[in-house]
């Protein structure tokens, strides 16, 4: 398989990248890790006229932990998984990231790329929702920050404007009484999520004082589960509470069906995996 021909640019700064985006408009696609874009191009599913390769922009790479956790959009899964500091303050990231693709995909694939691509079965969107991450983007008018919950708008669609570049993802480190987990039902061939659920729990003593859930793989886009979250609040996070609350998962969502999992089955699995993610998050929050 061979991609169609394209014009290639490799900017070395964010400003240069944004200028190129402005110049080429819809014709252009950003190339980061390339593990979604290049296969799509080889299969003829995408044929951008211009590729803007941002991998030479050093400032987009790396993890900074000072109060918040700031992860450059070009930071690879492998770099996230191996980052000592992240293992301490946000262990769920490593847990989730190590389930992505394979060793080679993790060496190339980037957090920012996955979020900007917004594949409905990608793992990272669920994490950003559950962890209430902020997504920093730069455009011709400067920079702005988008809450994860507002970022994913539809299948393969985000709140990014065509002339904007996703530059960083900001997480809040977890402290005592907080726990998060990611569990997924992997696609047997790609290990994308057929259903993936990220859960965050904060305990106030023995009671749940905050809960966020991000579900991926099930619908056109990753989504929070407000009903489940509400049901968890004030409860003790025990098995019965989890079982009851997770029954609300996926309700009201447009669930997808395909050859790997029908709509009915996915709907049921959203509940099961929500329960399992919550159970793990609660256990971690209890310490």
């Amino acid at each position: 398989m061979i991609p169609s021909a394209f014009e290639y640019h490799a900017p070395t700064s964010v400003a240069e990248a944004i200028s190129l985006l402005g110049q080429h408009g819809d014709e252009a696609k950003i190339l980061a890790g390339g593990h979604s874009l290049l296969p799509a191009m080889k299969l003829g599913l995408a044929a951008p006229g211009v590729l803007i390769d941002i991998t030479k922009i050093a400032e987009l790479r790396g993890v900074v932990i000072n109060g918040n956790v700031n992860i450059g959009s070009l930071t690879t899964w492998a770099a996230i998984a191996q980052h000592e500091g992240l293992r301490r303050v946000l262990p769920v990231l490593g847990e989730a990231v190590s389930q992505i693709g394979d060793l080679q995909v993790r060496n190339r694939g980037t957090l920012g790329g996955a979020l900007a691509h917004a594949d409905p079965a990608a793992d990272a969107p669920a994490l950003t929702l559950a962890l209430d991450a902020a997504i920093r983007v730069h455009g011709p008018k400067g920079e702005r920050t988008i809450a994860a919950v507002d970022f994913f708008t539809d299948m393969l669609s985000t709140a990014l404007e065509p002339d904007e570049l996703l530059t960083a993802i900001i997480f809040r480190p977890l402290g005592a009484g907080e726990g998060a987990a990611y569990v997924k039902f992997p696609h047997p061939a790609t290990r994308y999520a057929i259903v993936g659920v990220a859960a965050y729990i904060k305990l106030n003593g023995t009671h749940v004082s905050a809960c966020r859930i991000g579900v991926t793989g099930a619908g056109a886009k990753a989504e929070r589960q407000n009903d489940v979250e509400q049901a968890m609040l004030g409860g003790d996070g025990g098995d019965e509470a989890l079982a009851t609350a997770s029954l609300r998962a996926g309700e009201g969502m447009d669930i997808l069906g395909d050859i790997h999992a029908s709509e009915d089955y996915r709907r049921a699995m959203v509940k099961v995996y929500t329960k399992r993610a919550l159970a793990a998050a609660v256990a971690r929050a209890r310490g």
Binding site: M1, L43, F185, A189, Y265, M269
Partner: protein, 789 residues
């Protein structure tokens, strides 16, 4: 005294493979690694429709594209014939419609090629192929083998009314009816053996070169059977002398059956090379391989089994629709008939068996042999039905197996399905060994205990027998099973002046380690150093004719041909040694690489000395020709029948339906064992393909004939993390059929495994009343089966 007592025998030793040094250093030469001076590249224009008429093809834009040398359509290639149908279902009418080099007039599957672009490089060829404009008239499609035969189904080929390729039967309907009429218990079940995509890691392709001065073609091909391709392409497709084509298989990156067949790319690369006078290369990408190269299995079956209340099986009735795909592939007729229907009784004595098979065309990729080829389908069916039967009676499936086994004293065993007699077998020791390894009795206790805790464990047993070492030519050939030629093998053993030995074979190893295994045989037989033996294969120029490597036949047929050549060679060695030692030939012993007069081993002539004398020919016995060079043809008197028992242990997550394969035990009997390392490797790989069918793989077409599992992003070939460690052991029941006592091991793993896994899953789900789940048992299917309780 035999040679074995002097020189350490290497037959039976787990030698590491001589094939490997180049392959582990990236120095193998696979098809796409070959570059010829001036070589052009071909890209195909393929149908996006499963069924359509071709109204018009406009090549003008493609032709104008810079770097394009030529664009051709099928209409221009009508001077060559369609590909041959080399194995049609035996004894019945076959409506065989085979593909042409490029489709003409209509297409019958997605990916059916209608035009080709020849360009200076593959990037240009690919770009230009997108510029060919085809005016399609889409037609309704049918993808299901059973629906295809129903009235009103879309019709693929005029020559095949109701899409029927053949109607074939085996066994006795009368006996089966009688068995069912008097049975105390009977069970029926629809059994689907889903379509699989063989997926050798290397896709297929061909490179053709034509020498205008001599009118000779050379074709490099990803083929398991280059000699057969040479025959088919010259005698049937091009109508040229067989001597005008040289076929070469370089290193072949896995075959699993898909690379046995004659494909359109062999024909169109030859045609284009001749037309343009330049060498051309075509290599499929993976999506093309999935759309157009052959698939396997795809049976829709209604099966019924009957017997007595105490577990004696008396009857088996099977009606199968076998999907043939959009055209008839090279040996598609023999797979769901001879290699399936004739061994449906498996390892059991069943008095009344009857099978009827309807082969049908559908708007899907052609279906032909895939690892096991018919025997996995048969083995799956009987082993599932035996479990169903046992469950219906509330009996232990192991005991039902034991009760119905063909006994050691029954061999040679005629199964009543028109098969040659099973050569040898001893099924119970293999079963017992596997049960012991699995800890069957303890497992049953643990299983009961686990169920009380809400954990669902299952154990599945599969006792299989299969057909290898195919096949006696007179039986398998045109007057018997419908195979369009013979099925013998030949081998040449040539000794050079320096005593170095070259074996040439028509077998075509592509992972089976034949170079190593054959060299082990030769070294022991001649008492020479293993390193002094070279095994050559793959090029029709320089190797004797062979039907190729498939059907687990390369040792049990090709290896026996080597053995026969060695026997001839040794006779000549003795004769020459007698002359050199001035003794009588009858007194000469040839052993451990030396020839001597019986009782005086100290006055011996070494093999090297004899070889030198034979080559120099300074002093030969009266009338003896120089040289030690012998060729043999071996036509086996029977097939061989390897067997064994596989056991799978699973745990089912009843909330999600996920099946965890916890343990896998395999006890196989492939007769005598030349290289255990290689045999075990074959078993391992075979098991994964069966396990994959049980748990993961399945080609899916939608109703319009679009292949939904069109790449490895959707077709789930298992990774290392998806399969367990395998626990292997074996029994040895030599085959009486051949001088080596070998049976074959290439497909046993696949033939024995899928049903072990499914039996285990169903066993785990017994508390939920689950009786059968169709493969692959995806989490969703398991979950649904549980929900339906």
């Amino acid at each position: 005294m035999t040679a074995t007592e002097v020189k350490e025998r290497i037959v039976g030793r787990a030698l590491k493979r001589r094939e490997d040094p180049k392959l582990i250093q990236g120095q193998g030469q696979y098809l796409d690694d070959i570059k010829l001076q001036g070589m052009l590249h071909i890209a195909l224009v393929r149908s996006p429709h499963a069924h359509a008429n071709i109204k018009q093809i406009d090549i003008s834009r493609a032709l104008a594209h810079p770097g394009v040398v030529a664009v051709f359509t099928g209409a221009e290639m009508l001077d060559i014939n369609p590909l041959p149908a080399a194995w049609q279902a035996g004894g019945v009418k076959n409506n065989a419609v085979t593909p042409r080099a490029l489709a003409v007039g209509k297409v019958t599957m997605v990916g059916d090629p209608v035009a080709l672009v020849v360009a200076e490089d593959r990037y240009i060829a690919r770009d230009a192929a997108l510029l060919v404009e085809v005016d399609w008239e889409p037609l309704p499609a049918v993808v299901d083998a059973k629906q295809a035969a129903q009235p009103g189904a879309p019709q693929l080929h005029e020559a095949a009314p109701n899409n029927i390729v053949f109607e074939w039967e085996a066994g006795s309907q009368t006996d089966a009816d009688a068995a069912f009429a008097s049975a105390e218990v009977q069970v029926s079940e629809p059994i689907i053996n889903q379509r699989l995509i063989p997926t050798p890691l290397e896709t297929r392709g061909a490179i053709a070169r034509y020498d205008n001065a001599t009118s000779e073609f050379t074709v490099w091909m990803t083929s398991q059977a280059p000699h057969v391709m040479r025959l088919l392409l010259t005698a049937f497709v091009f109508g040229i002398p067989e001597t005008k084509l040289r076929c070469i298989s370089p290193n072949v990156g896995g075959g699993f059956g898909q690379k046995i067949f004659c494909y359109n790319d062999m024909a169109f690369t030859m045609w284009v090379a001749r037309k343009l006078g330049r060498p051309v290369k075509f290599v499929e990408d993976r999506a093309e391989n999935y759309q157009y190269s052959t698939h396997g299995r795809d049976h829709i079956t209604d099966a019924a089994i009957c017997g007595t209340k105490d577990g004696k099986i008396t009857g088996l009735r099977v009606k199968t629709y076998a999907n043939i795909g959009g055209y008839f592939s090279t040996i598609a007729g023999g797979i769901p008939t001879t290699l399936y229907g004739r061994i449906l009784n498996g390892v059991y004595k069943i008095p009344g068996v009857y099978v009827h098979v309807t082969g049908t065309y559908t708007n899907t990729a052609m279906v032909d042999a895939y690892r096991g080829a018919g025997r996995p389908e048969a083995s799956y069916l009987i082993e599932r039905m035996v479990d169903r039967f046992a469950a219906e009676l509330g009996l232990d499936p192991v005991e039902v197996r034991r009760k119905n086994f063909i006994q050691p004293t029954d061999f040679p065993y005629q199964n009543g399905l028109g098969l040659l007699p099973y050569d040898s077998g001893n099924y119970e020791p293999a079963l017992d060994k596997a049960l012991a390894m699995a800890g069957y009795t303890e497992f049953r206790k643990a299983q009961a205990e686990a169920r009380t805790q809400g954990r669902y464990l299952g154990i599945g047993v599969s006792s299989y027998v299969e057909i290898c070492g195919v096949a006696p030519s007179a039986w398998v050939g045109l007057n018997g099973q419908g195979w369009g030629a013979g099925l013998w093998e030949s081998a040449n053993v040539r000794v050079h002046l320096t005593g170095k030995i070259v074996v040439t074979t028509g077998s075509l190893p592509h992972g089976q380690g034949i170079e190593t295994t054959f060299a082990q045989l030769v070294a022991d037989e001649l008492g020479v150093a293993y390193e002094d033996v070279e095994v050559q294969w793959g090029d029709t120029q320089g190797t004797p004719f062979g039907y190729g490597t498939y059907g687990s036949r390369s040792l049990s047929v090709g290896g026996v041909a080597v053995k026969k050549s060695l026997d001839k060679l040794k006779a000549k060695v003795k004769k020459l040694a007698a002359h050199m030692l001035e003794a009588n030939e009858v007194d000469i012993v040839f052993d451990d690489g030396k020839a001597f007069v019986q009782g005086s081993a100290d006055k011996a002539k070494t093999f090297a000395e004899i070889a030198a004398q034979a080559a120099l020919a300074y002093s030969l016995p009266e009338g003896m020709e120089p040289g030690l060079d012998e060729t043999s043809y071996y036509d086996p008197p029977n097939c061989t029948f390897p067997f064994g028992t596989h056991i799978a242990i699973v745990e089912v997550d009843t909330e999600t339906g996920h099946v965890a394969l916890k343990r896998y035990i395999a006890v196989d009997d492939c007769g005598n064992r030349i290289n255990p390392l290689i045999i075990e490797g074959q078993i391992h790989g075979g098991i994964v393909q069966g396990v994959a069918q049980a748990l993961y793989e399945g080609a899916v077409y939608n109703e319009d004939g679009q292949l939904l599992t069109g790449t490895l992003m959707d077709y789930a070939v298992p990774t290392a993390a998806m399969v367990p460690h395998f626990e292997l052991d074996h029994t040895v029941t030599p085959s009486p059929v051949n001088a080596l006592g070998v049976k074959g091991a290439g497909e046993a793993g696949t033939i024995g495994s899928a049903q072990a896994v499914i039996n285990a899953v169903v066993d785990a789900l017994t508390p939920f009343g689950v009786k059968h789940i169709q493969m692959p048992v995806t989490p969703e299917r398991v979950w649904k089966a549980i929900q339906q309780k």
